[in-house]
């Protein structure tokens, strides 16, 4: 295999080589390609540059913004939007960060723990109706829970009457819905990963008399731990980005998650809150983006396993 690739690369080089002589069409093509790449990058990155610039714009309004912030006399002015974000009593930014981390962290941890057990069972055990069960789980996952919003709201309201920590305006209630909602997708994702772990491992352990529980916790779990971590992180960022459920279920400003908080800037005078919003948006996005850049390889394989960002 490797020798044939080497040969074919050599052949390709041989074929391509004469073309790289300074033919005019080649130069034009190359220039066109570079131009296209520049345009593409400009389109992709301009909004990001723009929000970075907005966050450092000292006057903080949309109308006064320029790409390179003007009239900055001191560091205080440069970070004016950030200080406003941190010090405004109406904007408990760090509390929102804490809420988001708690809700997303807790629910993605639960999802990964529970879903990995099911994924393992679907991947390894053969039982009646296994295929039907898998298909039903897929169908459940496809239906967006925006539509069941009324029902979810009423359900949380009702449960909260008797179990306050799972009711409206509680993290428990929100986490409960995230856990239930994220389960199906993650079972599918993880089943794909479990399928790639060779069955020989299980079988040899089985011959030695190990129970499925032992095989899972002693052999498979340590093997797939990095993958589970990645799935967990993806579930984490997905939950972090959710806005609608959090908005419907959390009412008290102190209890909001970061996304609900950021959206609240829009509802007021968006163009006047623009700078503060940009600062908050940037602080939210940077950790997530860094995480994605680190996990890029896994994300691509996860995406091709059939997941779509939701």
């Amino acid at each position: 295999m490797s020798s044939s690739t080497a040969v074919s690369t050599a052949a390709k080089v041989a074929v391509v080589q004469p073309r790289q002589a300074p033919a005019l069409s080649a130069i034009v093509l190359r220039a066109a390609r570079i131009l296209c790449i520049v345009l593409l990058l400009a389109f992709a990155l301009f909004p990001i540059l723009w929000v970075v610039s907005a966050s450092f714009n000292p006057s903080g309004t949309m109308a006064s913004q320029t790409l390179i912030p003007q009239n900055i006399d001191s560091l205080e002015e440069l970070f004016g939007n950030y200080t406003r974000l941190f010090n405004d009593p109406q904007v408990p930014f760090w509390r929102w960060v804490g809420n988001s981390l708690f809700v997303a962290g807790g629910s993605s941890l639960c999802v990964v723990l529970v879903a990995s057990l099911s994924a393992y069972a679907f991947s390894r055990f053969r039982f009646k109706y296994r295929r039907n069960l898998l298909l039903s789980i897929f169908l459940v996952q496809v239906f967006p829970n925006v539509l069941a919003m009324v029902a979810i709201y009423l359900m949380v309201l009702q449960i909260g009457k008797y179990v306050p920590f799972l009711g409206l305006d509680s993290y428990g209630g929100l986490m409960m819905i995230y856990i239930g909602g994220g389960m199906a997708l993650n079972i599918w994702l993880m089943k794909g990963f479990f399928d790639t772990v060779p069955r020989d491992i299980d079988e040899s352990a089985m011959v030695d008399g190990a129970t499925p529980t032992q095989i899972y916790w002693r052999l498979i779990f340590p093997l797939v731990r990095p993958v589970l971590a990645v799935v967990g992180l993806l579930a984490f960022t997905g939950t972090l980005s959710d806005f609608l459920l959090a908005r419907v279920l959390l009412t008290d400003r102190q209890n909001w998650t970061l996304m609900v908080g950021l959206y609240s800037f829009v509802e007021g005078q968006f163009s006047d809150n623009w700078g503060v919003f940009a600062a908050g948006a940037l602080l939210t996005a940077v950790p997530v983006v860094v995480l994605y850049l680190f996990l890029q390889r896994f994300i691509v394989s996860g995406l091709t396993a059939g997941a779509v960002k939701g």
Binding site: A44, S118, F125, L133, F138, L139, A148, M206, T237, K309
Partner: protein, 523 residues
């Protein structure tokens, strides 16, 4: 040994779990879960939501059976996830289906029993009822109290917190921490105590005038035999109409709120007739489908173009490919809001720049066509990096030998693209393209957060329907919009319709995925 082998044989090759402390732990967990669930189910049953209670009980029964029957051990691994999914994903779906057949909406939020109970709590001040002379008190915490004296000379002290105790004598300067308010202080407090009910359930008192307070009485009385409510303030009798869920008077007026009833297929009928009469719904449907298809294809096309542009092994190209992940990684809501700012009429950077260069800027948020264009543009920004990401993987997996063979045959690059690259990439990305169409069919937050569905379609007032509303944001607006009627029944019916459309698309995707897999095996 022999039994283990037999068990192993009929359970898919594994040895059955042995009896150990883990069994005890399982039993304990099962007891806890069952106990908690039973408590919840009992209370919810008492509340009148039998449907939810039954779902909880059935889920508990399922878990219990799976845990206790040894033969079902593979399901034990699935049961926690299964239980959570049934209660938190499947039940809301079923309940949505149930609401779709009711008139559940703002004026019909309660069951009949609940509505009668809630109305029975309302009080009014009848004329000629018991009256009191009153003195006002306030304690250090700011809470008010009334010293009441009736015509018979009996005195009582009442608070809004439900206190109503007999006291004796003239109104003192201070009573149990409450200080007498007189003159201007009493007058200023009038606003805050007007309409407040003092005393307990039997002795509800409110102030009528500066001098007198009157005993409140129950305003709405339900007569089960006549199935009617009487408004004792006016004497009008409101008869329950069990098909519309209202209490109606002979003159056609209705009680403050009704109750919800099953309305059969009415909600679905309204959807169909609205679609047939060329109402806003048909536009919403067309835009939903149009956006899902065009949005996905354009994102796919640009993503594939980007993947081709950045295809290669040099460090620069690798770095650029990594950079292109950034728009995909930024949390969706954040980037939609950034775009919303950039497209802001007049002062957003995009209209502003166009204004200064061309002297004219497209009215993105007020013109239907431009609003749709802007949404498609923002959607490309979102989805192209996603397709680029998976597209470049697919490009690299195409063997270079195929291209060499084509070159030997004298195929131009253009022909190579159409005959080799595109078909092979489509094989790999086709299922994901369909998944993307399904996702975009349900793309709620782009529609809602960019323009709030606007600009509104002329002639649709409550709830306002916008030119860029898709089915799901239209549904959301029906159910949750502040100015609208909050028609949960109709919203749920639309939800059911969407569910079936999405379900059909998904099954289609499954079919195609399988065909595509077979195709790719042959390559």
């Amino acid at each position: 040994m022999a039994t283990t082998a037999a068990q192993a044989a009929n359970s898919g090759g594994f040895a059955a779990p042995s009896l150990k402390w883990s069994t005890a732990l399982q039993a304990l967990l099962l007891l806890l879960v069952d106990g908690f669930g039973a408590f919840l189910a009992y209370n919810i049953w008492q509340d009148g939501n039998a449907f939810f209670a039954i779902v909880i009980v059935l889920t508990l029964a399922l878990i219990t059976v799976i845990t206790l029957v040894p033969r079902l051990w593979p399901l034990k691994w699935i049961s926690p996830a299964l239980a959570l999914m049934i209660l938190l994903s499947v039940y809301p779906l079923l309940y949505t289906g149930y609401i779709a057949f009711t008139n559940f909406s703002d004026g019909h939020r309660y069951t009949k029993t609940e509505a009668v109970e809630l109305l029975a709590e309302r009080r009014y001040l009848p004329e000629g009822g018991a009256t009191y002379a009153w003195s006002l008190y306030q304690n250090a915490a700011g809470a008010y109290g009334l010293w009441l004296t009736n015509q018979a000379g009996e005195s009582f002290f009442a608070t809004p917190e439900g206190m109503f105790t007999a006291v004796s004598g003239e109104a003192p300067g201070e009573y149990e921490g409450y200080a007498l308010l007189e003159g201007g202080a009493r007058f200023r407090a009038l606003n805050s105590i007007e309409g407040v009910t003092f005393g307990d359930a039997e002795n509800a008192v409110g102030i009528q005038s500066l001098e007198t307070a009157g005993a409140f009485e129950q305003q709405w009385v339900y007569d089960a035999a006549a199935d009617a409510l009487t408004d004792r303030a006016t004497g009008v009798v409101y008869t329950a109409n069990n098909t519309t869920g209202e209490f109606t008077a002979p003159d056609g007026s209705a009680a403050p709120f009704g109750f919800w009833v099953s309305v059969g297929f009415d909600n679905f009928g309204r959807i169909i007739s609205s679609a047939l009469s060329q109402g806003p719904l048909i536009r919403v449907i067309l835009w939903t489908i149009g956006f899902a298809v065009i949005g996905s294809l354009s994102g796919f096309a640009l993503g594939l173009a980007a993947a081709l542009l950045l295809d290669g092994q040099s460090t620069w190209l690798r770095v650029l490919r990594a950079v292109m992940i950034v728009p995909y990684a930024v949390p969706g809501l954040v980037s939609v809001l950034v775009w919303r700012g950039m497209l802001n009429a007049n002062i957003g950077i995009i209209p502003q720049t166009m204004e200064s260069i061309f002297g004219w800027a497209p009215p993105f948020s007020s013109d239907p066509g431009w609003a749709k264009f802007a949404i498609l543009l923002v959607n490309i920004w979102f989805s192209a990096p996603y397709f680029m990401l998976i597209g470049s993987g697919a490009l690299q997996s195409i063997s270079s030998q195929v291209y060499e063979a084509a070159q030997v045959d004298g195929a131009s690059r253009w022909v190579q693209f159409w005959k080799i690259t595109l078909p092979l990439v489509l094989v790999a990305l086709g299922p994901l393209l369909i998944a993307s169409i399904i996702f975009n069919f349900n793309n709620f937050f782009l529609m809602e957060a960019l323009f709030g569905g606007g600009p509104p379609i002329a002639g649709t007032s409550a709830p306002p329907v916008g030119h860029t509303d898709n089915l799901i944001s239209y549904t959301y607006r029906l159910a949750f919009s502040a100015g609208g009627t909050k028609d949960y029944g109709l919203a749920s019916a639309l939800g059911v319709v969407i569910f079936f459309i999405v379900g059909i698309l998904t099954l289609l995707q499954f079919r195609l995925t399988r065909t595509w897999e077979q195709v790719s095996e042959n390559v």
